[in-house]
């Protein structure tokens, strides 16, 4: 277990190094940060002095080393626009994004498992056909369209739900603003979470269904039937546990992907999270913020994947973490 964690830590370090290198490398192609920083009135000579002061004229690796040194000290640079440490700016927006992703993951977990299992057990009845049909539509419609359609229907036409923002929030543990403890906050969460889940949910229903059907055709399920066990026990004890093993792995990776997906959802719903911030940063060529965002998202990926591997090892007896 300890050996596994140490190995994972080394791997994570390498991944983060590569991410930071890539993130840092692209910033030179993102345009001139000075154009955004200073007005028209500043002369070319003054600009050049500013560039020298900011170290923008140094060779790439000198710049990267300087950057790397700072990163190791926890300093991801200062946002050009906010004039604040980039990491702080992003971490301020992190709760909003994580709450959005959490809501979507809850929706996916609550609906995909029963629907996937049901459509696997009764593949031919009309409910299953309906679920499968809708899931195909869900996968095919892009997130931005789903978001706009939901807003139009529930916010504009029916005025049941708010169309943008986080609504009323409560501060937890000093700094974490949450929308999960007020009615208004929950109402504001509903549409964005559904939108964010709209592609992953059908994907997972189909994944669980396919995996479950595969498992149900295996010998140990037939053997369980020949032992005279009840169908419920065969489905839920023999079938589901084996079905969920590969799903856990895929699901963990998708949580990272969803953090990235929030860019579109947050833009549609004016959600004050990281994704929305990132898009603004790109528009403003706020390179330290862009690089910091990439590093934070990279770190989230690494952390969720490590956690998923740990959980997988705990659930699957054939995996021994200590031996890896």
């Amino acid at each position: 277990m300890v050996a596994f964690l140490i190995r994972r830590l080394i791997q994570a370090f390498i991944v983060m190094f590569v991410v930071s290198l890539i993130g840092f490398a692209i910033q030179s192609s993102l345009g001139d940060p000075l154009r955004e920083l200073v007005g028209q009135s500043v002369s070319e000579q003054q600009r050049e002095t500013l560039r020298d002061e900011m170290g923008l004229n140094d060779p790439f690796f000198t710049q990267y080393l300087r950057f790397g040194e700072k990163v190791l000290k926890g300093d991801l640079g200062t946002s050009y626009f906010f004039k604040q440490p980039a990491l702080e700016v992003i971490l301020n927006k992190l709760p909003a994004t994580l709450e959005l992703v959490f809501g979507a993951v809850m929706i996916i977990s609550i609906f995909s498992i029963p629907l996937g299992v049901y459509t696997a057990i009764r593949p031919y009845n009309w409910v299953s056909r309906l679920v499968m049909g809708f899931s195909l539509i869900g996968i095919s419609v892009p997130v931005f369209l789903t978001g706009i359609l939901l807003t139009y229907l529930f916010a504009v036409e029916l005025s049941w739900l708010p169309s943008f923002g986080r609504g009323e929030t409560v501060v937890l543990f000093g700094s974490w603003e949450t929308g999960y403890f007020t009615r208004d906050g929950l109402l504001h969460l509903l549409l964005p979470c559904i939108t964010l889940a709209s592609i992953m949910l059908p994907l997972f229903i189909r994944l669980i269904r396919a995996e479950m059907m595969e498992v149900l055709s295996l010998d140990y399920v037939k053997f369980a039937k020949s032992k005279g066990l009840s169908p419920l026990r065969i489905w839920l004890v023999h079938g589901l546990k084996n079905t969920m093993l590969p799903i856990i792995t895929v699901g963990g990776m998708q949580i990272g992907t969803m953090v990235a997906y929030t860019i579109v959802t947050e833009t549609i719903f004016q959600w004050p999270g990281m994704g929305f911030l990132f898009l603004e940063a790109v528009n403003r060529v706020d390179t330290p913020l862009i690089v910091a965002y990439l590093i934070v998202v990279g770190a989230i990926f690494v952390i969720t994947n490590t956690l998923v591997d740990l959980i997988y090892g705990l659930v699957n007896p054939t995996v021994k973490l200590a031996r890896q």
Partner: protein
């Protein structure tokens, strides 16, 4: 008294090309404590017969005719709930590949205890005691520690012992073993066979042994059935059939066995292959591969003729028996 009586059993599969019948007109009886072997090539319908006896066929297969009488109940028409109470407790099954018949994420003990608790009102603790005792019966060393292990921690032979222990848990009257030794090496095969044989004899358990191995079959059974393309072609005492097979197909099977006593002789094989179920030849299904095929064989499906202690489905044997009758 007959323990199991199968009467004219027919199994159908609904496919896109129409209905196919992988099992037709299968009848046999098995007495209490009797051991019956069923042999045939792959695709002869042996495994389907094994599953059909317990009415465990999964879609698109179903029993489309005949009866499976066990203990005066017809398993072919019994309700699912009643069937469940018979499966595992009165009739148990052993599968071919012990690597895949045990659930990889459950311990041996969990898989044994759930079986006991599905049929008896019994505490986990008591069930565990019975499970350990059964593991001891199948000669698993240190059963009290083995019971908490997962299947991947056991060797193939060990796992098959575990599945046998699971089959014996509720003291069934009948065990259906579907090629129980095919996936094991020869030395372990011999151990498992003698173990299974001992347990069947000492507990007076009936056995339907499905195999394609004539040697295994001759060691374990008194009576045997030869199947071809979903039908029984020959049925009778094992010794008699192996010494003096009547049906050309059975003769072919026996002649195809390598003779260890005469090294260097070429193996005889039956020409051709088992027909696909969509294109079973008319008349006798074996006629295209049969060296004695006559005109009638391609037109009329042969009925059963009694010859000695055996019953054989072959026109040639029928004529032979009839002419002998005339001579007398």
């Amino acid at each position: 008294m007959a323990l199991l009586e199968v009467r004219n059993l027919e199994v159908s599969f609904r496919t896109r090309e129409g209905i196919i019948k992988p099992l037709r007109d299968v009848s046999f009886t098995l007495n209490q404590g009797e051991r019956l072997g069923i042999i045939g090539e792959s695709g002869a319908g042996k495994s389907i017969l094994a599953f059909a006896i317990l009415n465990l066929l999964s879609r698109p297969g179903y029993i489309s005719g005949g009866q499976v009488l066990f203990d005066n109940q017809d398993l072919a028409t019994l309700s699912e709930k009643r069937l469940r109470s018979i499966r595992g407790s009165r009739v148990a099954m052993i599968f071919q590949d012990p690597m895949t018949t045990l659930n990889p994420v459950m311990t041996i003990g969990q898989q044994m205890i759930e079986s006991l608790r599905a049929h008896r009102k019994i505490s986990r603790k008591d069930a565990r005691v019975i499970a350990i005792q059964k593991l001891k019966q199948v000669q698993i060393p240190s059963p009290a520690t083995r019971i908490d292990q997962y299947p991947h921690e056991l060797s193939g032979g060990m796992r098959q012992r575990v599945t046998i222990a699971i089959a014996l848990l509720l003291d069934p009257l009948l065990i259906i073993a579907d090629e129980p030794t095919t996936a094991l090496d020869v030395t372990i095969q011999a151990e498992i066979i003698s173990l299974l044989l001992d347990l069947c004899v000492s507990n007076n358990v009936g056995l339907v042994l499905i195999t394609h191995d004539l040697c295994v079959l001759s060691q374990m059974t008194r009576r045997m059935i030869v199947m071809y393309a979903g039908r029984i072609v020959e049925q009778g005492p094992t010794k008699e059939i192996i010494n003096d097979a009547q049906h050309p197909y059975t003769q072919g099977l026996i002649n195809a066995l390598p003779q260890l006593s005469i090294p260097g002789t070429e193996l005889k094989q039956i020409p051709g292959a088992v027909p696909g179920l969509q294109h079973v030849p008319s008349g006798c299904a074996f006629n295209p591969r049969c060296e004695f095929s006559m005109d009638i064989c391609t037109r009329v499906e042969p009925g059963f003729t009694c010859s000695g202690g055996c019953s054989v489905a072959c026109h040639m044997v029928e004529e032979l028996v009839n002419s002998m009758g005339e001579d007398l």
